[in-house]
Symmetry: C2
Subunit: 344 residues, 2 copies
DNA sequence: CTGAAAGCGCTTACAG
DNA sequence: CTGAAAGCGCTTACAG
């Protein structure tokens, strides 16, 4: 009898045996042809392909995995509301395709923590994991890394099974500070990302850069958390501090910078005339024609490519020692930075 | 020998047989216990659970699917750069969990069209599909619907295997227009979403609402495409048209509204004092404290819940006729709308 | 409560 | 070039 799971008119899914029968060949041959393996004559090949097409045949991934003992699945752990993660994922597909791997997306949401997401990915037999963001502690990460090789994006981790692909964020912030100093700024503040990924690195970069320019006494950090709201709050703090006000602000990321920007403009404080703002990530937001935000750019495309390559090296080429890849950021100078005009 | 695919120190994945051996029971019993099926004594149950835990055992999804002939997978076709899609997906997890289904995410990107995404989802044995956005034509959709039941979000489709869950978008725009008229506006323009999902419906709602208020001669639609840039362009058009300028604009969505808002403010045109703006979606952007945008709200949580329930009804309860569920929108009134002050 | 057995849809040597 | 056979890790009656 039909189970309740079958829609009454939903046709049974075609199997390899069906294709073989229709093409008048053995199942083995169908398998060969469909995988593009050698061993079939051109005429037979065409016949098999036609039969598969006619039946709307699609190999069953579950069976393939089970039998071949390989899934060629790469799990991606990400946070649904982080725009950066999505942009990164977009860039993960082309290199994964190129190397014949599938991406399995494991979303973390407010109701679904990394534990559940990881469990699921492992259930799908992912052979490696790309970690975007989840702040696993050492023990959890080690346990995970005991099962599958891992590529961690942005965070610095030391473990033989964990590769890291990241941007030199301290350098990125330094580029921002250098640019501002060159424009003539001295009172440069930083709104940080609290304990979010890479925030410490960026904070450190800010301090170092300021010291390098002899601006040790100008160092001023306002705590934030990478959200627009935290940028807006920081802007309020700056607006209400009449004693000393910065002429430029380096934000922890673009979202924060956007909160700063909009709050200043709302308060009739002109950007960049009265205050310069630099963002971080060079996101779509920063590039909008009516925002035109100066921002530090990470090469997301290249990072994604390197992440996949790191996995391929482990899985296909047998590499076993960890790699730590650090890319250099660039500064996209746009319209939210300028020389300070109101020097008292 | 070890294949190249095995990291040298990566332990073999524990299998059910391993758990059975460690617990000193049969594989059948392990299967029962792990699935929570009745038939095992409490002591045995604990022993099995402990053994599984010790070994870090995780059932192999591929094998489960293959054998049980059910995957309990629901495929979700979405566009990575559409914020709405991600928000929707977040809300899909709780109801899916509740009914014991897994979500498999199929991302469409610039390099990966719906065809590839769908193929992959079907390869993972998805038993149903939630379609967010992909504009499949009738033939493609019918072919798909021949394989699995489908829930289409937002678009209006007639097919026995396709359910629709959507918001009455025409009504949403009507709420926006009513609100503006009540505030005293008459020159109300609309920046539409071109041929994007639901754009036609919203456009229609605008026309109808305007007519209802006897504002037939005020109807004015600027073409857009749901992007911030299209909103910004529309704002430029409005700013440069000195003959007649609207006192209020209903945008096709929040992103577009944001483009309008920012461009007006940049041009020193006060919102809402000089011009009112209404968005659509009530997205995170609209709710930001420094934006506070009046926007039409769709009940995404409820839509997601209904989408999953529609699938469960088909898969578990055997429903076969199509359902078309229409939710009513609400208007979230915030700070970008006010009475027109500069009435000439 | 337990164990032996069949089989899901594939892939992979292996012998013709 | 082709076919028979084994087996991936599970679930599911079935007989004890």
């Amino acid at each position: 009898v039909n189970g309740v799971n079958d829609g009454p008119t939903t046709p049974k899914r075609a199997t390899m045996a069906d294709v073989a029968q229709r093409a008048g060949v053995s199942r083995t041959l169908v398998s060969l042809v469909l995988r593009g393996a050698p061993g079939a004559g051109e005429a037979t090949r065409q016949r098999v392909l036609a039969a598969a097409e006619d039946l709307g045949y699609r190999p069953d991934a579950a069976a393939q995995m089970l039998r071949s003992n390989r899934s060629r699945n790469i799990g991606v752990l990400f946070t649904a509301r982080h725009v950066f993660d999505l942009e990164f994922i977009e860039n993960l597909y082309p290199p994964a395709d190129k190397h014949g791997y599938h991406l399995v997306l494991g979303a973390m949401t407010t109701t679904r923590d990394e534990y559940h997401a990881v469990r699921e990915l492992l259930g799908y037999r992912c052979e490696a994991l790309v970690l975007l963001g989840p702040d696993l502690d050492k023990t959890q990460l080690s346990k995970l890394a005991g099962h599958v090789p891992i590529v961690d994006i942005a965070r610095i981790v030391r473990h033989p099974h964990v590769d890291v692909v990241r941007t030199a964020d301290d350098r990125g912030v330094r580029l921002a500070v250098d640019h501002l100093v060159e424009l003539g700024h001295r009172e440069i503040w930083h709104v940080d990302g609290g304990n979010m990924p890479s925030a410490g690195e960026r904070r450190r970069g800010y301090r170092t850069a300021m010291r390098r320019h002899g601006l040790h006494d100008q160092i001023h950090i306002i705590e934030g958390d990478y959200t627009e709201e935290s940028g807006a709050r920081a802007a309020e703090v700056i607006l209400s501090s009449d004693t000393r006000r910065p002429t430029a602000v380096v934000a922890g990321n673009d979202r924060c910078a956007f909160g700063l920007l909009d709050t200043f403009r709302h308060a009739k404080v002109s950007v960049p005339e009265e205050i310069s703002i630099v963002g971080y990530d060079d996101s779509r937001l920063a590039r909008l024609s009516f925002i035109e935000m100066t921002s530090v750019r990470q090469d997301v495309e290249r990072m994604a490519e390197l992440a996949i390559e790191a996995i391929v090296e482990r899985l296909d080429d047998g590499r076993t020692e960890a790699r730590h890849i650090v890319l250099q950021p660039m500064l996209a100078v746009r319209s939210t930075t300028a020389s300070p005009t109101d020097v008292a």
